[in-house]
């Protein structure tokens, strides 16, 4: 049985060195329209020299349509920089959200083991 009360709403970690061409954003918790502004701010602070960004959503408990909108904005911003985006998910609900949202290929979704 699931018992998830008391969880944090959202944590965002960015790993990578300044001017290093690769970075990872790890999103943990509830990635929804109450939180997308924080994700957008973290995205805007990424280095313009990035060549590859991995957004790890495998530890999210909520991904809603506003979060998908935020990921779409990120993909377009990275396209302008010539940076490749990859999104990692792992649970069945995360896979469903990406597929039904029509973003599986657009966001280069990778399914990791749970």
């Amino acid at each position: 049985m699931s018992n998830s009360s008391g969880r944090l709403d959202l944590e965002i970690f960015v790993r990578g060195d300044l001017d290093h061409p690769r970075a990872e954003m790890r999103v943990i918790g509830e990635f929804d329209r109450l939180q997308v502004a924080r994700f957008d701010r973290a995205s805007a602070a990424l280095s313009e020299t990035l060549q590859q960004l991995t957004v790890d959503l495998s530890r999210t408990t909520i991904i809603d349509s506003a979060a998908l909108g935020s990921l779409i904005r990120l993909r377009h911003a990275l396209d302008r920089l010539g940076c490749r985006l990859e999104v990692v998910v792992s649970t069945p609900f995360q896979v469903t959200v990406m597929k039904v949202g029509g973003l599986y290929d657009f966001l280069n979704v990778v399914v990791a083991d749970e």
Binding site: R33, L34, L68, T96, V100
Partner: protein, 146 residues
């Protein structure tokens, strides 16, 4: 062996027509429902999130200050209902084309949200009347009310 029949009942919460109602509704449902596993919990709560968000949007669009009602029914018929004063939804399936975001970067979040709700809780039901819209999300297959 006992044959205990659970008493049926319901409770209602009046939620403000603002985004905070998304968090309140998820919290309320988590408090009263034991989900079968974390993936079913996430699926159900994403669908609920989309429906409450839609209700908030509808009240804002129409200038309604009236509350959005979250109703939980338990016993014989275990469901959560979200009742708003909006003008409703199209009850036809709302498919989202694969990679539809490759166009102008202006995603149709509302259509995408309803598609997510339908996919994650396939038994979802929409009823529209002159007074508004009621969306019913059954708990069957996801969990039980405590």
């Amino acid at each position: 062996m006992t044959n205990e029949t659970r008493q049926a009942g319901h409770f209602r919460l009046n939620l403000p027509p603002t985004l905070v109602s998304i968090a309140i509704s998820r919290s309320a449902v988590r408090r009263v429902v034991v989900f079968r596993d974390s993936d079913r919990e996430s699926s159900f709560l994403v669908a609920l999130t989309e429906i409450v968000a839609n209700a908030v949007d509808e009240h804002a669009r129409l200038g309604h200050g009236r509350p959005i009602v979250l109703e939980v029914r338990f016993g014989a018929d275990e469901v959560v209902r979200v009742i708003d004063a909006g003008e409703g939804f199209s009850d036809s399936p709302h498919p989202v084309a694969a990679d539809s975001a490759t166009g102008n970067g202006d995603p149709d979040e509302r259509g995408r949200g309803l598609a997510l709700a339908r996919a994650l809780v396939p038994t979802i039901e929409f009823e529209t009347s002159r007074d508004g819209t009621a969306v019913t999300l059954p708990f069957a297959g996801f969990g039980i009310v405590r």
